[in-house]
Symmetry: C2
Subunit: 362 residues, 2 copies
C-alpha cells in the first residue's frame, strides 16, 4: 500500500518535441519559433527552451518580458529571443546586458529604445491589424521616418480569431497586414501567426510562426480533432476514504448534502495547486482501476489543499489509487471548457505551483 | 515620463503583523498560530513566517505539506510547525530530517507514522466534526488504543461554515468536538478555529487558533465590516493608449465591439499573472488621477499578458499612470466576489507569478 500526500505534475518533453516538429511541418518554409512566455505557460521555460533547442533545432524564441528572456538566455545563447511586451525602464538593464530583441509596441517604446540601443541591436515592430491590443496603428506608422521604419528586423502582428477557420476577422487582418507591409515594410521579415494561425491558409505563415499553446498540447484549431498530443499528466493521491450518511453535508459552506449514503475520497489537490475553484460541486476527477477509467464527481466546495469526490460507484478503489486530474482522457482543453475558460489558463495555473512533485519525461 | 512593462506586487508586512496582533487580541488566551501553507497563500512563506516570528512572537505555524515546513524551518527553528496533510511515503524523509509535527488524518497515516517515529516526536490528530473532509471519524477513533489516543499532543478539527455567524453547522460542530474530546482526548490540547472561527463565541477558541486568510487581509467574517487591513497592492503599467472607432472589435474572439468611438489602454497584466480570465468583458481596473480613483471597464477577452480597458471617460490619463488592480479600494474579497470565487483563490493565484516586481514593505 502506498500512502502519499503531494500532487504530481508530469511533463512529457518527448511529446512536446514531437508536437513542435509536427507544427514545423505544417509551417512549411516559415521558421518555427517557440513561445516560452509565462515560464512556458508554467511548464518551465528553461526546460522547454533547452529541449527544443537541442532536439528540434529551434533557434527563435518569444517571451513576454525581458526577465523571462534573461532566464532562458544562458541555455540558448545563439538563438534570437524576442520580447513581446517590448522595452521599459524596468527592463533597460537587461537589454543592455544581454542580447534580447524587443518587440516595439508603440511610439513611447521606440523613443526609449533609440536612447539605449548603444550596441545597435535591431528590434522588431508590432503593428496592429484589428486585434486592437498592442502594436502601432497605421496613423502612428505614418509618423515614423524611413530610417526608423528600416531599422526593424521584423514586423509582427497578431490574429484575433484564428482558432475559428472561417472567421471574418482572419481575412480582414491578413489583408491589413499585407497592405501595411507593402506601405511601410516592403523588405522586412514578417510574422503574423501563432499556434492557431498556422492551421489557416499558407498566406498566414509569412516568415516566422510563433508556436506556443499547440506545442503544449492545446488544440488551437478546435474545428478539427486535435492534431497535437497532450503532454501533461496531473495526478494526486487520495489522503482518506470515508462515508457520508444520508443528510450529511460536505465541504465549506455545507453546499453539498448527501441525498443517500455515499462513499467519498479526499484527494490532495486544491485551488492552491491551480485546480479551478469554480468546479466546486460540478467538476470531475478520474481513477484508473483495472485498466478502465472511472469518473468521480466533485462534491462540495473545492478547498485550497483538498477536493472531496464521490466514489460510491467505483469498485475496487482504495487509498493507494491515484486520482487523475489531467491526462489524455481529460485534457487541458476539457477542463478549460468545464471551468468556463480555456486550456491556456488552466496550464498557466497548475504549472506555477511548487507543491507538485514535478517530473519531466525525456 | 515613465515607461514600464512589468506588473508590481506590494506586500505590506507591517500591516500583516498588525493584522496578526489584532487577531491575537481576539483570540484571548488561545495561542495564535500562523497558517503559511501554499507559500503563505502565494505571498512568500519564508518572509511571512520570519516577520511573524520576529515581530509578533509567533511560535506556532501550520503548513499543508512537509515540503512547505522544510522551507520555513531554518527561519523558525524553535517553533512548532504542524503539517496539515499529514505524513506520506513522499514526505517521510523530511520528517526524519527535521522536527515537523504531522497532523494525522486517518488510520493509514497513523500506521505509517508509527513506523517512522524513531525520534519519538509527538503528532497531532485531525478529527472530523461535520466538514466531512479530512480527519478521523468517530468509528475510527473507537478502534484506537488508549496508548495511541494518548500519544497525540493536539487534537484539531475544522469548521465548515464559521464565516456565517449563526450558521447551524457551527454549534453542531462545536458540540461534536466537545463530545469527541470528552470521550477520547480529555487531557489533550485542542484547536478548532481558523481565521473565521475566532470571530465566533469564545467556546470556539480552545487552545490554539489557526490564523491564515485574515492575516493576509481577507474578511473571514463578512457579516461585519472587515476588521483586518488589506495588505496587498497590485499595479500594472499601461503599455499603450489608443483609440477604437465605432464598430471596431477588440481582443481575442472579437467578443467586444465598440458601440461608439472609444479610448483604450492596454495594461501589462493578464491571466498568466493570475488575473482571472472570467473577468473578460466584465471586470474593472482602476487609475488614481489627481487624488481620485477612476474606474475603467475591461473590454474584450483578457489575454495571458495583457488586458484592454476603456478609458474614454477618464481625464488626464497618460501612459505613465499605473493601473491599480488590487488595493484598499478594490480588495481581494471584491475581486473574488466579481470573479465568482473568494479572495483566498485570488491571492493564491497572483502570488505565484515570478513576472511581478515583488516588493515587501517592512
Amino acid at each position: 500500500m502506498s500512502i502519499l500526500t503531494r500532487p504530481i505534475l508530469e511533463i512529457d518533453l518527448n511529446k512536446l518535441v514531437e508536437n513542435f516538429k509536427y507544427l514545423q511541418t505544417i509551417a512549411g518554409k516559415a521558421t518555427a519559433a517557440a513561445v516560452v512566455k509565462d515560464d512556458a505557460y508554467g511548464l518551465g521555460a528553461v526546460e522547454v527552451a533547452k529541449i527544443l533547442y537541442q532536439k528540434a533545432d529551434c533557434r527563435t524564441f518569444f517571451v513576454a518580458h525581458a526577465v523571462e528572456g534573461e532566464q532562458i538566455y544562458p541555455f540558448v545563447k545563439d538563438a534570437d529571443i524576442y520580447v513581446l511586451q517590448g522595452v521599459g525602464e524596468d527592463s533597460v538593464e537587461i537589454f543592455e546586458n544581454i542580447n534580447l530583441i524587443p518587440v516595439i509596441n508603440c511610439p513611447e517604446q521606440l523613443k526609449l529604445w533609440k536612447n539605449i540601443r548603444a550596441k545597435g541591436e535591431k528590434s522588431a515592430i508590432h503593428i496592429d491589424t484589428g486585434l486592437n491590443r498592442l502594436g502601432f496603428r497605421e496613423e502612428e506608422l505614418k509618423n515614423l521616418s524611413k530610417e526608423e521604419l528600416d531599422s526593424f528586423s521584423m514586423v509582427i502582428s497578431h490574429l484575433s480569431c484564428a482558432d475559428i477557420k472561417d472567421h471574418f476577422m482572419n481575412d480582414i487582418q491578413l489583408n491589413k497586414f499585407k497592405e501595411l507591409r507593402a506601405k511601410f515594410f516592403p523588405k522586412t521579415k514578417a510574422s503574423l501567426s501563432a499556434s492557431d494561425g498556422v492551421f489557416l491558409e499558407d498566406g498566414f505563415l509569412c516568415d516566422i510562426v510563433r508556436l506556443g499553446a499547440a506545442v503544449y498540447g492545446i488544440n488551437t484549431a478546435p474545428y478539427h480533432q486535435s492534431k497535437v498530443q497532450n503532454i501533461i499528466n496531473i495526478k494526486a493521491p487520495i489522503i482518506q476514504i470515508s462515508n457520508l450518511k444520508e443528510g450529511d453535508y460536505a465541504g465549506y459552506g455545507a453546499t453539498y448534502r448527501a441525498a443517500s449514503d455515499r462513499k467519498i475520497a479526499i484527494v490532495s489537490i486544491g485551488y492552491g495547486d491551480g485546480f479551478p475553484r469554480i468546479l466546486s460541486n460540478v467538476g470531475k476527477i478520474f481513477f484508473k482501476i483495472d485498466n478502465s477509467v472511472e469518473q468521480a464527481g466533485i462534491i462540495g466546495r473545492i478547498s485550497m489543499d483538498n477536493i472531496i469526490c464521490d466514489i460510491t460507484n467505483i469498485k475496487n478503489i482504495n487509498i493507494d489509487n491515484l486520482a487523475h486530474i489531467i491526462g489524455d482522457f481529460y485534457t487541458l482543453d476539457d477542463m478549460g471548457s468545464d471551468a468556463q475558460t480555456i486550456g491556456y489558463e488552466i496550464i498557466s495555473r497548475f504549472g506555477k505551483n511548487k507543491r507538485f512533485v514535478r517530473k519531466y519525461i525525456s
